[in-house]
């Protein structure tokens, strides 16, 4: 079961992703993430992958499309909590990740 949970603090919105991110699961959470970004209008959005147990290239699509949404809202997007397997996928698209983000 793919899940997205949110933590909003000041200008930062953290999206905690968990479960399996595939074509089926990504389709279920993307609108939810976008509506939270548009509602919060944060300066920084962090997509945290630490709860993700499986991810295929749908995860790349999920990040790249959110980066467009963030650009439209003048927010910066960061990717965090990436393990070896999710990192292997994201690196194919040249997506770099961060360890910590303090705003």
């Amino acid at each position: 079961m793919t899940k997205a949970e949110f933590l909003q603090e000041k200008g930062k919105l953290t999206v905690y992703l968990s479960g399996e991110i595939d074509h089926h699961g990504a389709g279920k959470i993307r609108y939810d993430i976008d509506s939270r970004i548009l509602k919060a209008m944060p300066r920084v959005v962090v997509m945290d992958f630490s709860g993700v147990t499986f991810m295929d290239s749908s995860g790349i699509g999920l990040v790249l499309a959110r980066s467009k949404v963030c650009r439209d809202c003048s927010a910066s997007l960061y990717v965090a909590g990436v393990d070896r397997q999710t990192g292997k996928i994201l690196s194919l698209a040249g997506i770099r990740t961060i360890q910590n983000i303090n705003v």
């Binding site: 595939d22 074509h23 089926h24 499986f54 991810m55 749908s58 790349i60 699509g61 790249l64 194919l92």
Partner: protein, 142 residues
């Protein structure tokens, strides 16, 4: 010691079956003591191939996806087949970032992932008849 085994599976092209296809290939591979990384690589490649069938082979209908996996001499061979619309230009379809699916959020990296995670990927397709993706990976010393 050389173990040989195989399975054949067919299921409708519903997106909920993407995870079913991953779980079955993972279960099949467990008997050969793969590493966690090998299992994840194989699951990811199968997920991409099955997603291609769901999204591209049968864009407006539900069709059947066929998976055959065989293991022989330590080499795993997975065939993912559909009887969908086919691919007119295979080399173009396999180019990274190329996608015909502009409406959704596909990154166009499905074949790139299969190639990165498996040893060999071959694609056979006839427009109007369907597509067959054959992937191999060595998972034990035979």
């Amino acid at each position: 010691m050389s173990k040989e085994n195989y399975y054949k599976l067919s299921f409708p092209s519903r997106s909920v079956n993407e995870s079913f296809a991953r779980m079955t290939i993972a279960s099949f591979c467990m008997q050969f003591d793969p590493t966690i990384e090998q299992i994840n690589d194989i699951k990811t490649a199968v997920s991409e191939a099955v997603t291609n069938c769901v999204v591209h082979a049968y864009p407006d209908s539900i069709g059947t996806i066929y998976i055959t996996a065989t293991i022989k001499n330590g080499v795993l061979k997975i065939t993912v087949k559909d009887k969908g619309i086919g691919i007119p230009d295979i080399s173009r379809a396999m180019e990274p970032m190329f996608t015909t699916d502009s409406g959704s959020e596909r990154a166009g990296l499905g074949f790139a992932v299969m190639q990165a995670f498996m040893d060999k990927v071959k694609v056979y397709s006839t427009p109007g008849k369907g597509t067959r993706v054959v992937m191999t990976k060595t998972i034990e010393q035979g």
